[in-house]
Assembly symmetry: C2
Homo-oligomer: 213 residues x 2
DNA sequence: TAGATTGTTAATCGATTAACAATC
DNA sequence: TAGATTGTTAATCGATTAACAATC
């Protein structure tokens, strides 16, 4: 499925579709959904929904639409979310702590939510051993070892700007393949490692543009 | 300047350029920067840097480049960041708390950083009066009144998914024009109100696609 | 002046939309 | 069967890149 290069524009809409289907499933009722409705709820045109899905297979039935449960499972499979995905949080300050707790809560609400914070790391020894739910903060020096043990392939970087690149380097060494970066810096990583930036200041600064006044 | 519709693709690069210039200025040395270097540091092609900036005026000198301090000020002006921009945080759970503290710290580090968290709101009366730095959590029912008093035009929504739309509606009533939404829901707002989504789960789910394994 | 780099136009590339035959 | 909606191709739209004259 992955031999043909699928554009990132497409990939970033898949989780959106997945959420719509999950919501529809949870709220019960609908077994079927048309590209029309799926698009409406995801904020995307029906044609684009069909085109996006068609990259991965033929999931619909003409004249009928898409089976909610089936398409949901397919999307989970495509997104590698059909099994538990352990994640590391590096940097357990206020933000890292909040994120760890958020995902713990999210899992309690919905056991099918397969993103799981599985390890916490910090550089500050005063934090070592601090508990967040079931987890204990470990020294960041143990990252590679523990990531290997736990099969961790993604990490959330919630450290200060000054140490973010260092942490990214450690993650790369630990064979982590996806980084969600909250620090306000452009990380440099080798090919094959994906970065998503969650830079709150940048987003607010962008919004500020539209205030005009 | 704003009569010609400038694409969002352009606008979201401006804060990136601004950051590069601020970093360069802080680290001293360079008074001038070429589109080449600016692009390099921002992760954008030099041609695109020039084209983006050209939408707003002629800021460079042929054969020389852009004056760092001058372009920085111009970008701040364009982004409405040349004056303090008060922001509300709605929902002071772990995440809201962390974000409020983050921006307080950011301001202490750099007094020129003009995004300022100026008010905190929550629906839970157990939180009323709780202090975060200089600020006290207020009932969300006071949002409109206080937003008006303080001139707040942007808000960070850090409430549970179930109440996010309600909060967004309140913000709209309070004449807030920009929303940074951390809740995993698609908010519906009238024309003229901008939304930026900071949906951590969605970003991680997108990253998961690239794990292939 | 000679060299460098901007601002801008034309060319290219990629993503979205429109349209419709296939078919459930 | 008739009506509806998919999967897919062609048309459109928009964003990025290439190229270069203008000029510091």
């Amino acid at each position: 499925m992955r031999w043909k290069k699928i554009s990132d524009a497409v990939v970033r809409r898949l989780p959106l579709y997945l959420r719509v289907l999950e919501d529809a499933h949870r709220d019960g009722g609908k077994d079927l959904m048309s590209s029309q409705e799926l698009g409406q709820r995801a904020g995307v045109s029906p044609a684009l929904v069909r085109k996006d899905l068609a990259w991965f297979g033929e999931f619909g039935k003409q004249g009928v639409g898409y089976e909610v449960v089936f398409l949901k499972q397919e999307l989970r499979r495509i997104l590698n979310l059909d099994r538990v995905l352990p994640i590391a949080v590096v940097g357990v300050g206020k933000l890292g702590h909040a994120l760890a707790r958020y995902f713990q809560g999210r899992f309690e609400d919905d056991p099918d939510f397969n993103l799981r914070v599985a390890a916490l790391f910090d550089a500050d020894e005063k934090k070592f051993g601090v508990r967040v739910g079931e987890l204990e903060v470990r020294p960041v020096s143990e990252l590679a070892e523990r990531a290997r043990e736990l099969g961790i392939k993604m990490a959330i970087i919630a450290v200060p700007a000054e140490s973010a690149q260092q942490v990214a380097d450690l993650c790369v060494k630990a064979d982590i393949r996806g980084l969600l970066n909250f620090a306000p810096v452009k990380l440099v990583v080798p090919e094959g490692v994906r970065i998503a930036n969650a830079d709150v200041s940048l987003e607010l600064q962008r919004l500020a543009y539209y205030l005009e006044g």
